[in-house]
């Protein structure tokens, strides 16, 4: 209830006790303002902080070809080129670009008390086709045995300076060169044109448990999983969005 104040009566002497009571009541009211003390819609955009710490977006529309071979679920090797062995960034060599968002460091907190931060990464990659150049029809082009493999990497550091790209195998997704339909022929010669979605949410406590404190950015890396040498994977349009939220883990 809003404060119900009794005025000093006309002609009464205002004793020290009366005055003290009045201001004590005011103090109590101000220290515990109820809903009806405040006008509706009185907290505006300018008054309150954003729940969003950082945000970033990157899109790539240039098609690129990759032959770097996938060598293991937990492997962290980074290929020296898209024709090497290990992970390679999603993005064209020329002009050099990558599906990567760089932003101001997100502080996940020091000591034993992580900041209430969550970090969301969302990517969509169009896998155009997986093929063996020069092979005849129905041999290996878009063979279901070949897969594009993708995963998130976060750029992390313990001190805000010494950054490392960290793999997250739990975000690893793989997709075959097959188009749905099945029937009797899983091998087909049409481009697979698959949209590969990656999503993940990271919590500050997890970042801390992995020995880091700051998140500097995110990117998507890829590899080609195949038994055939020379298999090419073509990627086309891709995008990556990230944002951090002031939101603690509750579960």
């Amino acid at each position: 209830m809003p404060y119900d104040w009794t005025r000093f009566s006309e002609g009464d002497a205002a004793t020290a006790a009366d005055v003290n009571d009045t201001f004590a009541n005011l103090r109590d009211e101000v220290n515990d303002l109820p809903e009806l003390s405040i006008q509706p819609r009185s907290l505006h955009h300018a008054h309150i902080p954003s729940a969003v710490g950082i945000s970033g977006f990157k899109a790539i529309t240039t098609a690129s070809t990759y032959t770097n071979r996938f060598i293991g679920f937990l492997d962290t090797a980074y290929a020296s080129a898209p024709s090497g062995t290990g992970w390679w960034r999603v993005g064209p060599m020329s002009p050099p670009d990558q599906l990567r968002v760089v932003h101001a460091p997100v502080d996940c907190g020091g000591g034993s008390d992580p900041e209430p931060i969550s970090y969301v990464a969302m990517a969509n990659i169009q896998m155009k086709k997986i093929s063996l150049p020069g092979a005849g029809a129905n041999v290996a082009e878009n063979d279901v045995r070949h897969h594009g493999v993708f995963q998130f990497q976060l750029e992390l550091s313990p001190d805000g300076t010494t950054t490392t790209w960290v793999n997250f195998p739990s975000t690893q997704r793989y997709s075959s060169g097959e188009t749905e339909g099945g029937r009797s022929h899983a091998i087909s010669n049409i481009s697979c044109q698959k949209d590969v979605p990656l999503r993940s949410l990271f919590l500050a406590a997890q970042i801390r448990s992995w020995g880091h404190r700051y998140i500097h950015g995110a990117r998507v890396v890829c590899a080609v999983e195949t038994n055939y040498l020379g298999i090419e994977m073509d990627l086309h349009r891709c995008n990556l969005s990230v944002f951090s939220l002031r939101a603690p883990k509750v579960n």
Binding site: W5, S42, F150, E178, E180, S200, N227
Partner: protein, 242 residues
């Protein structure tokens, strides 16, 4: 206008008039009797330190990591003899039963308590499968083993308090005109589904579930040791937005 200025000034060595006292107090009382508003707070008066953790948004997540790779292929890949070179189901992979019924994917269930809020729920997973059915390419001798050409497809969906959010289900849920009309059958399929749903105050359970869709031949059954779908790497997360 909420800029409060005491109306009366008191002078030294002069008795205080109660009416003056009343007027001075009254301006403050009027403010806190429902007039406190946007002008009473300074711009940026509330910084992130003023906000209690979770005051606006809360985040929940569960994830599972599955080593799906043998060094040559998926651990569910089959060779010409039907043998699984990778040894079959990897640890923490979830094998979906062949009973055509919804089942909670292992560890993909979160219990929480909330007030009136909106949930943005996302489920991301890798779908794989095991099959003894092979495929032969048209006009050639090439055979691909274990392609599951007659597997009926898989569906995943988001459930809240045991109720399916049907719009999140993968596939058309209609097998009237396609062998796999109900579910998806890709050989290795990365999938994401999400939804935004209002919830009432109280305790809730958000889960991700899966089921093998029915074949057009309703009597067809599959051997759950050899012909089944599986969910590997996965994460269920949601934001509770107030």
């Amino acid at each position: 206008m909420p800029i409060v200025i005491p109306k009366k000034g008191f002078t030294a060595d002069t008795p205080i008039d109660v009416n003056d006292m009343n007027e001075n107090v009254e301006v403050f009382v009027q403010e806190i009797q429902g007039s406190l508003g946007e002008h009473n707070w300074a711009a940026n008066a509330f910084n992130s330190e003023n906000l209690e953790d979770g005051a606006i948004i809360r985040a929940y997540e569960a994830r599972e990591s599955v080593n799906w790779y043998t060094g040559l292929a998926s651990k569910l890949e089959r060779d010409s003899s039907g043998f699984v070179p990778g040894g079959g189901m990897p640890a923490d992979g979830h094998k979906v039963s062949t009973r055509y019924e919804w089942e909670t994917i292992t560890d993909m269930s979160i219990v929480f308590t909330a007030g009136n809020s909106i949930l943005w729920i996302t489920f991301s997973c890798q779908i794989d499968f095991s099959s003894t059915e092979n495929s032969t390419a048209s006009g050639t001798a090439v055979v691909t083993y274990g392609t599951g050409k007659d597997l009926p497809g898989l569906q995943v969906g988001i459930f809240i308090d045991g109720e399916l959010v049907s719009e999140t289900v993968t596939g058309a849920m209609d097998r009237s005109n396609d062998t796999r009309g109900e579910g998806h059958h890709f050989r290795r399929d990365p999938t994401v589904i999400d939804c935004v749903v209002p919830i009432a105050p109280g305790q809730h359970v958000v889960s991700a579930r899966a089921r093998m869709a029915r074949h057009t031949d309703a009597d067809k059954s599959y051997d759950s040791d050899t012909d089944f779908y599986a969910v590997f790497n996965r994460q269920l997360y949601f934001l509770e937005m107030r």
